[in-house]
Every structure is written in structure tokens, then in C-alpha cells.
Subunit: 455 residues, 2 copies
């Protein structure tokens, strides 16, 4: 078991937590609540409620609805310091970490909770054509791409049907909860926009395809809920392709062996790779880049170094691998806070980490979801209400809960997705990719004039 | 007076409106409401309520609160088409415009309402150091810079007081309504954040400076209201420098002759330059880049071409120059719609354009504003209530009104600025610009530990 080293100058122990996701934020808060001296480092200034990020990517919510400044979340803890900076290295012998700004931080205990990024399974060239959704910037880019594709399709019109169809095909790769939620939300966003806002594209022209490499959707859920998800997606007119291996992604779409699926918008929800904590520590990672940790979440052989959340490969006391989900990260954060505090006080360490699965939820569109609590499995609108309530409840900060709740109610009643803005780089992409080879007079294609009278 | 040319093929007249700001949106809507065939072109997909953009730059509102997709705003008009594209040229002899996508649009009447950008009075190298606020991306960049400066100052601490002071000095250049509103909002945002969220920086360390080249603030308002604005800003601890000529801006701050004001964050609100409509038309612009138009807002010698809003230099029938404000642009949009519809129907043209000034409002912080209605001038909280009501009322779309109203009430009651996110390029700038030359152990500088007890 890792032991907590006291500072050489005899001062109070200082805990450095890296990463303000669910795991790091929980660890830092619990430690500070016990009076520990904590420095929390994150390269962003905000904590992000990642489970709702797909809603930002599909224009249902604004970034500020699901993110809160870390300093604000933790403002009541006097012994806690927040640094906006990035780890570049860990020196576990000197008990210090190096930061991108050039500063060095000494620690008595170190908690690495730096999360994960997308993984393209060695095909990094796919990223430019199929962005994933892990940060606010990712989500805004995807939002811009989806909306720009509709704009481009609208201008292409009859003269160029093939190119138009390409812009009206939206592919989501990966049939886990993120991919399923994303496909449902894309279907609702694009079809509703086609109905209400566009003249030339209609909901029937739009094609949404969800590609999953395995034999079923939602592999982490019971098989019957995977089937419910397929049924729910089909009722939203999403084509579900199972056991379909993606072999290539480029500017024209997705290749599956010899089959090409032409699509201008491809969204990646298929795999994640842990942040490079193993590299900083100079140890071997597992296949997903995660750091193997002991039963106390400590790194074997490195006193006072803990890794939690998506960055850690955790086998809990029952021998099962702990999944990379928010509740698991929070439980690990709570656990290390307790352990570090116990060690510092010379109290007995808590028993080995044990993951408690309180249930899994995934939503598909406006009023369908699947829920698995072990003792109960269900799908449909009851699961959706539960999903909405749980997500609003767990949102950090009262204001966000209020705003998201109001936005959702509004959106549910009116179908209005208020955040349909193309901003940033996506706005420039939009104009550049318009291809209308032979239209010399778009004006002539405008709808028939009804009447023209002076006031 | 410009005459409306009928399409050569004898079809219904087609009006092209370029720009979906206040002027273009009004013109397009009024024309479509009369049954005209209209194509509205904008390089963005959204209409922006620019008077509240400074609130996005200071984290009070989210972009989606003050912007609405153009298609949604105009979805009820069947004879209207929206194109997301950019004008590159106008051929007024062939009655056509060229677009960045390569398409060409024919028109019978053309309304150019392409607005204005910042002007650095020939010092374009200043832009990198002193961004202005005209688009959502501009505002998000400024928001990121302000918040990043606070983060950087927090890490610099005692060891490096000079650099810290530079990051805690915020300069706004330009004493018009935008500059005054911006300076007040920056003061409130930064001082409140220092109080609540940061450990090492305090409100007393923060310096806000408003620089105006002329002898007074709010030159377009009566002198007494300019004085009220100075008093209101001073009560917010904003230093107001009048008759101060900026001679240089670089990465270290602002030069005024031999005087250097060191500041990491400089915001430009000093001057605007019209969009290049005069270049497209191949005619001479005035000093601000605007197109001189006749009393019917038509371009002399170019049948069917009208220019309105910030792009036009309009002298109204009383011989006064029409100001570049939203109400003037809307009135011009309404006027050209009426004129074009009259010409198309062979009815008499309306009398020359006449600008009606219904009053001017500018706000300074949470509960101060100045109002000028000609017959009445006042300042203080009554003016602020009027300003808030008017701005919420004029926001496009009911949802936005509701959300902005709720956000403001929340923000007013709690001082909470919910949108304090550093995103996009600004997030990367933040980490890069941190300069802590000699801090080898930031951990040692953490606050005293109160108690450390196990649960």
C-alpha cells in the first residue's frame, strides 16, 4: 500500500490533484473538506458535465449550461488552490510534477485524474474527418459541421443531387451510450430543422446511420436493452448497422471493406484512449493507455501516487474491471480522499476500493431511454423521465440545474433547439465547402411569388 | 431615383438582400411579408443582437441567448430563401452578384446591408493585441482573454508583482456606448471574480482604464449624460482618461505619446469601418468606408441598388447624418422594402427617407444607465430599468427574451456570471502566456492548513 510521505520541511502534507473531471473534482473537494492543503490543476478553467456534451453538439444546450468554472465550484474551500495549467511530467522520486508554464509543484500525495481522449485505433488521420466529442470545443465543432452540412445541402439543390445527398447523410460511429444518444439527437435536430427552416431539403432526404463494430448496441447493458435501443433508433428513422467494421474514413465518407458510405458529416464515438499519465510516470500502460493500479488505487512502487477515473485500470475486490463512467470516477475520488486523509492522520487505511453500480442509463431522443438497475430493467418514456431527472440533479451548481431544466422543458414543448449557431472555425468551413458547379442563377430557382403589393 | 428593372425573362421581380443584421433582416422580412421573392445572403447562419454582445464578452450571457438562426427567424415567409454565403462582387450592369461559393445570383433589386467591422485607423497591427467586439467569435475571444488574465495573475503571485499587475490591468479604448458598457461590465466581472473565486488576487489589485481620444464620454449624447457616465464609472472604480491619444498598442500594453500603460488585456471599442460594399460597386467610399446614397437610399446611377445600415452614408431630408445605430438600420430596412414594393407595383414611391430618433440609451454596470429622449434626459437606476426592458423587448425571438430575462434577474440577484468559460483559441493562449520565472515550488505557497482529519 502506498504510504504518504511527509514534506521534508516538516510542514503540513500537500496534495496535488490533476484534472477537474468527476474524479479529480470529487477527490479535491473531499480532501479540502477534511482541511487538507490541496492544489487542483486543470488545463481548462471549467468542470464539464460530459454526459450532456452531446446536447451541446446537437444544439440543445449552450456550453455554459453544462460547465462551471472550477474556482466557483470550489470557492468555499479555503485550503484549496486552483491552477490553470498542464502537466508535462511527474518525478515520483522527488515528489514533484512539472507544468507547461515552467513551474514545478511538490506533493506529498498526487492524484492523477486526467481522463481520456478519443482513440482512432492507430488511424489518427481519421480524426480530421470524424471528430469525437470530449471537450466544449469538440462539441461546438461538431455542432458547426452538422448545421453547415444542412446549409450546404440547401444551396446544392436539384442540380447536384449526389453532392446534396452526401451532405444530408450523417454517420455516427460507435454504438455505446454516447453514439446512441448522439444518433438520436442528430436525427431529431436535422429532421426538425429540415421541416421548419429549410425550403429545399426535407426530412425524407436526410439519412442517419449508426455504425457499430460489435454484434449489438450498448454492450455494457443487458441484451434486451440493446434491442430496445435499436427499436427506439429505428422509430427515429436511424439506420443501425451492426457488426460493421470501419476500414477507412476520408473527406468523402466511411469505408467498410469495399462498401463506401458517402457522408459529409461523420462523428466518432467509438473508442477512447487514456491521457498519457503512464508516460509521465514512466511505466507500462494497458492496451487503452490506462495505468494499472492496486486495490487502493495507488501506483505500485510509487509512494503517494494515485490514479483514478478513465486514466486508471481498476480491478475491484470482486475481480471485475471498473467501467469508465462518471459514477465510478466519483467513487474513486471519494475513496482516495479518505485514504490520503487516513494516512496523513496515522489512522488505519480504509479497505480496498469497491465499485458500487447504482445503475446505467442511456437516452435516445426526446422521450425514449433505457435503464438498467440490475434488479430492474426498463425502457421507454419512464426511463427517459428518470434519465432527465438524474442528469439535471447531478449537474454541478444550482443555476445550471435551473437553466438546463428550463431549456429542456422549453425544447420538449416546442421542439426548438435554441443553440443552432455556427461559430468559430466551423463558420469558415461552411462557406468554403459549398459546391454548386453549374448554378448560374440561383435567383431563378426561388419559390413562386405569391403576390407583390405595396403597403 | 432608382428604378426597379423587371427580370429579362418576364418573371416576378427578385430581390436580393445581403446581410442579416438589423437593416437586412428588416428589409427581407418586410419584402417577404408583401409577397416579394427574396433571397437573403449572410456569411453567418445567425442574426446577432449586437447591442448585447458585450455581455457575452463579459460572461453575463451565452452566445445562444443573443443570437437566433436566420432561417428560424424568417421561417414563416414562403417566398423567402436564406443562403449562407459571402458576397465577393457586384455586377450592377448585369444585375448580378458573385458569391464565395462560386454561385452567381441575379437580382431585380439589391439591398446591401453588410454592416461594419472595427477600424484601427490604419494601424491594423493593433488588432492582434486589442480585439474589438463585432461577432460572437470576437466576444468569446475577449471573454477568454479577460478570464485567462485573471488565471495567469493568480499563478504569478508575490514573486513577480510587476507581471501580475500587467495581467490585472484591463484597458478599454473608446468612450462611446460600447466602450462605456464594456468598461463597466469588465469592472464588475473581474472584481467580483477576485472576491469570490481567487485566493491571491483581490479587487484592490485590479485596475480598469477607459481611454477616450475626445474631451468627453458618449459624444452622441448630451454633455450632462457624458458627465453622468464618468461619475457612474468612477463609482465602479474605473479610471477614465479623456483627451488621451493612443499612439501604439503591443503585447505589453498601450502607448499614449511617451506614456506607457502596461496591460495584458486591451479591448478595442474606438472605431468602425464599413464593409467593402463600395469596392464591390466600384465607387468611391467616404472616410469611414461607407457608400454615399441618395435620399431614397439608392446608389446614384445604379438602378435597383440600395445600401442601408452601417454600410451607408445617409443624409436625411433635414440635412443631418443618420447615426450607425440599430434603430436607424431598421428604419432604413423598412423604407427600402416599401420603396421596392411600390416600384414593383407601379405605385408612387414613398417620400425621401427620414430618420426618427426615439432616444438613446447606454448602460454602465448592474444598475446605472443614461437615457436621452430629447424631451427628457436622465440617468441612474430608472434609466437602467428602461434599458433592460427595451433590450429584452427588442431581442429577436420569444425564447431569447425569456432566457435573457431569467439570466439577468439571476445575475442581478446573485452576482453570478454563469458563462465564465475559457474556450477555443483563448484556452490555449492562457497556458502559453503564464510566466512564473522563479517559482520552483508553488505547493509551498499554498494557504495554511487548518486541520487534516480522516472521516
Amino acid at each position: 500500500m502506498s504510504k504518504l510521505r511527509r514534506d521534508t520541511d516538516g510542514g503540513d502534507p500537500h496534495v496535488v490533484v490533476v484534472g477537474a473531471g468527476f474524479g479529480g473534482l470529487t477527490a479535491a473537494r473531499d480532501l479540502a473538506a477534511r482541511g487538507a492543503s490541496v492544489t487542483l490543476v486543470d488545463r481548462q478553467n471549467h468542470h464539464l458535465f460530459q454526459p450532456l456534451l452531446y446536447q451541446v453538439a446537437t444544439a440543445g444546450l449552450s456550453p455554459a449550461d453544462i460547465a462551471a468554472p472550477i474556482r466557483t465550484v470550489l470557492k468555499d474551500y479555503n485550503t484549496l488552490c486552483v491552477l490553470m495549467d498542464e502537466v508535462t511530467d511527474v518525478d515520483h522520486e522527488r515528489h514533484s510534477i512539472s507544468l507547461a508554464s515552467g513551474a514545478t509543484l511538490n506533493y506529498d500525495a498526487l492524484v492523477l485524474a486526467t481522463g481520456a481522449r478519443h482513440s482512432y485505433f492507430g488511424n489518427d488521420q481519421w480524426e480530421a474527418h470524424a471528430p469525437g466529442i470530449k471537450t466544449i470545443d469538440d462539441a461546438l465543432q461538431v455542432r458547426g459541421r452538422i448545421l453547415s452540412a444542412l446549409e450546404t445541402a440547401e444551396t446544392a439543390r436539384q442540380e447536384n443531387v449526389e453532392s446534396r445527398d452526401e451532405y444530408l447523410t450523417f454517420v455516427v460511429i460507435g454504438g455505446g451510450p454516447t453514439g446512441v444518444e448522439m444518433a438520436g439527437a442528430v436525427a431529431e435536430l436535422t429532421r426538425h430543422a429540415a421541416d421548419m427552416d429549410f425550403r429545399y431539403i426535407t426530412r425524407r432526404c436526410i439519412r442517419i446511420v449508426l455504425i457499430e463494430g460489435g454484434p449489438r448496441l450498448l454492450a455494457a447493458f443487458p441484451a434486451e436493452l440493446g434491442l430496445s435501443a435499436v427499436a427506439a433508433l429505428r422509430s427515429l428513422d436511424v439506420e443501425v448497422m451492426l457488426a460493421a467494421r470501419v476500414t477507412g474514413i476520408d473527406g468523402e465518407g466511411v469505408m467498410m471493406g469495399d462498401v463506401r458510405l458517402r457522408a459529409a458529416t461523420v462523428i466518432w464515438a467509438a473508442g477512447v484512449q487514456a491521457s498519457p499519465a503512464a508516460t509521465w510516470l514512466g511505466i507500462a500502460a494497458d492496451r487503452s493507455g490506462r495505468v494499472p493500479v492496486g486495490p487502493d488505487l495507488g501506483v505500485p512502487g510509487m509512494a503517494g501516487v494515485f490514479v483514478i477515473g478513465d486514466t486508471a485500470a481498476v480491478i475491484d475486490v470482486r475481480g471485475t474491471t471498473v467501467p469508465g463512467v462518471a459514477p465510478a470516477a466519483k467513487q474513486q475520488g471519494r475513496y482516495v480522499a479518505r485514504l490520503i486523509a487516513a494516512q496523513a492522520s496515522g489512522l488505519p487505511a480504509p479497505p480496498a476500493f469497491r465499485y458500487r453500480n447504482y445503475g446505467n442509463l442511456a437516452t435516445i431522443g426526446r422521450k425514449r431511454a433505457v435503464a438498467d438497475f440490475g434488479w430492474a430493467r426498463f425502457s421507454g418514456i419512464a426511463a427517459w423521465v428518470l434519465w432527465s431527472t438524474a442528469h439535471i440533479y447531478f449537474l454541478v451548481g444550482f443555476r445550471n440545474r435551473l437553466v438546463v431544466g428550463a431549456n429542456w422543458l422549453w425544447h420538449y414543448l416546442t421542439f426548438d433547439r435554441g443553440a443552432r449557431l455556427i461559430t468559430g472555425a466551423a463558420a469558415r468551413i461552411a462557406v468554403r465547402t459549398v459546391r454548386i458547379p453549374s448554378v448560374s442563377d440561383v435567383g431563378a430557382a426561388t419559390p413562386p411569388v405569391i403576390a407583390l403589393t405595396a403597403a
